[in-house]
Every structure is written in structure tokens, then in C-alpha cells.
């Protein structure tokens, strides 16, 4: 249960973080996250879209259809004001968690 929640939490943070810099469609979002985390976080289609739809239902992100230069229709997502508002405390929570884990690591090495 904790594993699932942690995975979901980090994934949501990753999505909100990449969308902070501008709208992206699902494929590009997954690629950016993989590149920026140097492959540590990878999203398959099966993991990404249910999460995007969930975040959209919560009104953290909003999707709209756009047509690319090659004529392909893609759904681009952008952060909503609620999503922007969510990003800051989420970052804070994860930062505190990682700091706590680092402290724990130091204690175990001492």
C-alpha cells in the first residue's frame, strides 16, 4: 500500500513539475520526465494516461486538443491554478521525506 502511494505521489509530482514549464502532450511528457530524471522515472502508456485522467478529474491539469505540424491531433495538458497551488506543498512534502531518508541513512552509517 505504501509502495503504491509513494509511486503515485512521485509520479504526480513529476507530471506537475514538467507541466510547470508549459503545456505538453502525453508522449512528450513521458519523454521529458525520462530525460530529466536520467531514466530513473519511466512512464509507459498504461501508467501515464490513467494518472493524467485522474489528475484532470481533480482539476490539477487541463487537456485540450491541438493539431501538430504534421497534421496529427494530440491532447496537450497544462497546469491549472489548482495544479500550481498543489505543486508547492507536494514538493515540500517530498523534500522533507527525502531529507528524512538521508538523515536515516547517515544514522545507519554512523
Amino acid at each position: 500500500m505504501i509502495g503504491t502511494e509513494i509511486k503515485r505521489g512521485t509520479a504526480e509530482l513529476a507530471v506537475l513539475s514538467v507541466l510547470e514549464h508549459g503545456p505538453l502532450h502525453g508522449y512528450e511528457m513521458a519523454r521529458r520526465i525520462e530525460q530529466q530524471t536520467k531514466g530513473a522515472l519511466r512512464f509507459t502508456l498504461a501508467a501515464l494516461y490513467p494518472m493524467l485522467y485522474r489528475m484532470e478529474q481533480r482539476r490539477w491539469i487541463r487537456g485540450s486538443w491541438e493539431t501538430s505540424d504534421n497534421g496529427r491531433r494530440r491532447r496537450c495538458y497544462c497546469l491549472t491554478p489548482a495544479g500550481k497551488k498543489k505543486l508547492s506543498p507536494l514538493r515540500q512534502e517530498w523534500s522533507e521525506l527525502f531529507q528524512a531518508l538521508r538523515r536515516l541513512k547517515k544514522v545507519s552509517h554512523a
Binding site: 502532450h25 502508456l45 494516461y49 478529474q57 491532447r75
Partner: protein
């Protein structure tokens, strides 16, 4: 060029959303797959391998369908639970109880049994019980079918199939021992024998019969889904 939309539409065939919403989901996922495949091709991968790698992003399309369905639908999780578990379960319970009552009233009427207190009271257990037991695989199959149709998981389907024996299980495991403890008029000497015979006759045997029909139905339903997927790939 591969028709990704057609492929996604076939694989998400259980997605029960509004047509426009389903089309939007299918178009979005198809665009993602198409871009993944194109990118792999640009990296020099052979088409067959690129398609295989692209499709490996989704291990279980049925699970993905369920997830999207749950998230996208306006109904909440409770409604899904009702469709996938409670309705099929109550249907199987109602059918099994109804069939038992119908067999008691309209079922075979034994010739050689004295009719001292009305035929329905003296009909031997086997005459009522066995036809009921034989009808249960059909009830189990219906439970599996309706739970499956509602998009139920394997666990929900299984629970819907065996649900009719749960009241009996509770009776024999909880109510009967409690009655034996608190009711002095119950003969404790026959308690264990009655408990095991009852447990077998009203829980294990009906449970087995329900599962025989339900799991068979589930097997054919999944095979039908698989063959559709193979045709779609």
C-alpha cells in the same frame, strides 16, 4: 502504415464511456503509440520490433480499460462496485434461493412418500436438493457473465459466483455454534455431525457447483476476449 486507432479501439473494447469520450481516449492513446513507434523507427529499429516494443507498454489491456473506465467515468467507485459485485452477487443469491423455492413447490413429487402433513413438507431432501444443486452451475455462470460485463476484476467475478453460499456459510460457522452455546434445547451431541453435514450440503457442494458453471463461463468469456484481441493485433 499501421492503423493505431483501430488497434486501440479493438483492445479497449470493454470501455463503456460516452461515444465521444471513448473516441477521444482512443485517439489520444493511438497518437501516443504512433509517436512511440515512429521514434523507435527513427532510431533505426525494424518495423516489426518497433511495433512489438511499442505494444509492450501495455501488458494488460483489460486492466487499462478498467482503470480508464474508473477514472474517466463520472460515477464514483461505489457505482462500479455495485455493477461489478453487488448486482451480480444479489442476482445469483436471488436466483439460487428462488430456484430452491420453485423446485420445492413445482419440482418432482415423490410417489412413495406418505403425505401426512402436505407434500411440500415431506418431499425427501434429495428430490429437492439434487435438482437445485444441478441448477447452480447455470446460476454461477450468470453471476460470472454479469460481473464480467460490468468490468469486474477476477476477484469480483469469483465473489459474485460464490456469493449465494455466503449466508449458509455464516449460518453454519457463526449462527449455529452460537445457537448451540446459548440455546439449551439444542442437542449438543448431534451438533458436530450436523455441522459438518450441513457445511458440506449447503456450502461446499453448492459452492463447487456454482464455481463449476461460473469458472467455465469466465473461461469462455476470457477466450472470446482474447480471440478478439488477436484479431485486432
Amino acid at each position: 502504415m499501421r492503423d493505431w486507432e483501430e488497434l486501440v479501439e479493438r483492445r479497449l473494447n470493454g470501455l463503456a464511456l460516452e461515444p465521444a469520450e471513448s473516441a477521444a481516449v482512443i485517439a489520444e492513446l493511438a497518437a501516443h503509440l504512433a509517436e512511440t513507434c515512429e521514434e523507435l523507427r527513427k532510431q533505426g529499429m525494424a518495423e516489426e520490433e518497433a511495433v512489438r516494443r511499442t505494444l509492450s507498454q501495455v501488458e494488460d489491456w483489460q486492466k487499462l480499460t478498467r482503470l480508464i473506465q474508473t477514472v474517466r467515468t463520472k460515477e464514483n467507485t461505489m457505482t462500479n462496485r455495485i455493477k461489478q459485485f453487488w448486482l451480480p452477487s444479489l442476482l445469483t443469491l436471488l436466483l439460487s434461493m428462488g430456484l430452491l423455492a420453485l423446485i420445492q413447490v413445482f419440482g418432482p413429487n415423490p410417489w412413495l412418500v406418505a403425505r401426512k402433513s402436505g407434500w411440500s413438507l415431506v418431499a425427501p431432501v434429495a428430490v429437492v436438493y439434487l435438482p437445485w444443486l444441478l441448477s447452480l452451475p447455470l446460476v454461477g455462470a450468470m453471476g460470472a457473465y454479469f460481473s464480467n460485463r460490468g468490468g469486474g476484476s477476477q476477484r469480483a467475478v469469483f465473489a459474485s459466483i460464490v456469493f449465494p453460499v455466503l449466508p449458509y456459510l455464516v449460518f453454519f460457522v457463526v449462527a449455529l455454534p452460537v445457537m448451540a452455546i446459548f440455546n439449551d434445547q439444542l442437542a449438543h451431541s448431534i451438533m458436530f455431525g450436523a455441522l459438518f453435514v450441513g457445511l458440506f450440503a449447503w456450502v461446499l457442494a453448492p459452492g463447487g457447483a456454482l464455481l463449476a458453471g461460473g469458472l467455465l463461463a469466465q473461461f469462455f468469456l476470457s477466450r472470446r476476449l482474447d480471440s478478439r484481441r488477436i484479431a485486432g493485433s
